[in-house]
Amino acid sequence: MTTIQRIWRLRSTLLRLRATRCLDCGYVSFPPKAACPKCGSRNVVREELPKEGKVLTYTVLNVPIKGFEDQAPLIVALIKLGDARVLAQLTDVKPEDMEIGMEVVATVRRTAPTLDGVVPYVVKFRPKEAEQRITLTASSTSTNPASSSKTNKASESGQTP
């Protein structure tokens, strides 16, 4: 279990997904590094990564490590965001619906408590498709005020925000 100090130190990197870009060779690294992993240059700058990307690979943990037991089955993926990759938890998706290439967007969610008992927030990713469905439901409601049955159906299935 992590400490609140760690979460606090990493807050801007973790929540805004700030990588380092090398100004000499262009290599983008997340996690950020003090010097470029590719060419060794210290001429690196912080750069915020895009918040949408694609799943490169994923795993489903029936037994996450100690401290995360409540989150099983835990889906963790490597996600391609622009020129970098980020490791993160997936949310709002069932293990059987996961696939390589799935489009995902960042969202901020609670994670396991720290040793000090604080519940930190971190970036997780959810399928982009789910967001599109929400947008569609919302727009169909506004452009089609008469079709209230549609809206009801959506809220029953838990798709409305």
Partner: protein, 380 residues
């Protein structure tokens, strides 16, 4: 630089040793290695270990030397996750090659069966990046699973092809009296074993192990202590990122390739000359990628080759006649030293399990998901 020889080996059986402490295991291996070296005592001891904090013990060089009747010699511990034993060998090699000492004992020891499994599993995950991986609850198996799914998808490897590796390892390890899991298994048992971190199943993974292994290293001056001294003719060591996300490529292990290249260059040998090798198959996917990085298989083909029956006894090279990490077991900080002891015995012709005839051996010990890799080349 002076030449360095292995003149004595010792090891405990790998397994769950509730009745043996860390010092019991380590001193058993140390004393066996000293006996095998004709009773010659070392001037220094180097200890490979990752997680002795699980048994609330650090300061291992002093503990083990003192318990083994070696009070007063020099010593220290090395740590590089699962390749801590390999790092101990590099350090021990350097102490002899530099001329600082003529006789150095390298011992690897690990005791994982002391605490409840969740504590041990969490401890093993300390090999990952604590800031950017561990905080998301992913286990070490989970990190390997990410690489396995990516590799299988990219190269069109089937579940059955991957599963042939543990079947082969358990066949080899069946004959090894020091192995933890001495039982043959079928393809169906692998494919239907419980999921640990999808797509990794139980038999795609090594077991949790206790164990210790030791080798006595000497300079040319003392090599005749043993009738069959084995020369360490190549040493290669390289690091990569502990985190997977900033890797150059997800289906390659950069440090495995670099360490093998360095060892081959130093030994003036090539992959095709190797008769026998012990590689680090903590997970079958790591076996696949390291076989390719060392140069024993083309990129993306290793599982297809082993499914066709390659790398078994009678082929060249023979890989993991010990049973590898799957069957012999993986006492983390001891594994690299087990590999060295096994290859030395193979080249001497007195390995008590599956004996392979050959003149050139190789071992590769992998820390993390390939973040620290040591390759050694051995000649008769």
């Amino acid at each position: 630089m002076k030449s360095v020889y292995i003149v004595g080996v010792g090891m405990t059986r790998v397994g769950k040793h509730t009745h043996l402490s860390l010092r019991d295991l380590a001193s058993e291996a140390v004393l066996k290695a000293i006996d095998d070296a004709g009773g010659e005592k070392p001037q220094a001891i180097v200890v490979g270990n990752m997680l002795s904090s699980l048994v609330e013990q650090e300061n291992l060089a002093a503990l083990i030397a003192d318990h083994s009747g070696l009070r007063g010699i020099s010593g220290f511990k090395t740590e590089s996750a699962c390749s801590s034993g390999g790092s101990a060998l590099v350090a021990g090699y350097s102490l002899v090659a530099s001329g600082l000492f003529d006789k150095v004992l390298v011992v690897g020891v690990e005791k994982l069966h002391e605490r409840p499994t969740p504590d041990t599993t969490r401890g093993l995950a300390y090999a990952a990046d604590a800031d950017y991986e561990l905080i998301y609850g992913i286990s070490f198996a989970g990190l390997n699973a990410l690489v396995m799914r990516y590799y299988m998808d990219r190269y069109g490897i089937s579940r059955e092809e991957m599963a042939w590796w543990p079947v082969m390892m358990h066949e080899n390890g069946y004959y090894n009296p020091f192995a933890q899991l001495r039982k043959k298994i079928t393809l169906d048992e692998v494919i239907n074993s419980p999921v640990i971190a999808d797509p990794i199943r139980l038999y795609d993974s090594c077991p949790l192990s206790d164990g210790a292994a030791a080798v006595m290293l000497t300079s040319e001056k003392f090599k005749s202590i043993n009738d069959s001294p084995i020369k360490i003719s190549g040493v290669g060591d390289a690091v990569d990122s502990p985190d997977l996300s900033s890797r150059f490529e997800l289906d390659r292990l950069y440090a495995s390739r670099l360490s093998a290249e360095r060892a081959f260059k130093m030994a003036k040998k090539e992959a095709k000359q190797v008769d026998i090798a012990e590689i680090h198959d903590a997970y079958s996917i790591i076996a696949a990628i390291t076989l390719e990085e060392i140069g024993f298989a083309e990129k993306g083909t290793a599982p297809k080759l082993w499914a066709e029956g390659r790398f078994r006894k009678g082929d060249r090279p023979v890989i993991n006649p010990s049973g590898g990490l799957k069957s012999r077991g993986h006492p983390v900080g001891a594994t690299g030293v087990y590999q060295a002891a096994e290859i030395a015995m193979q080249l001497r012709g007195d390995f008590p399990g599956m004996q392979v005839n050959g003149d050139i051996g190789l071992s590769q010990n992998v820390g993390g998901v390939g973040s620290n890799v040591i390759t050694l080349i051995y000649t008769r």
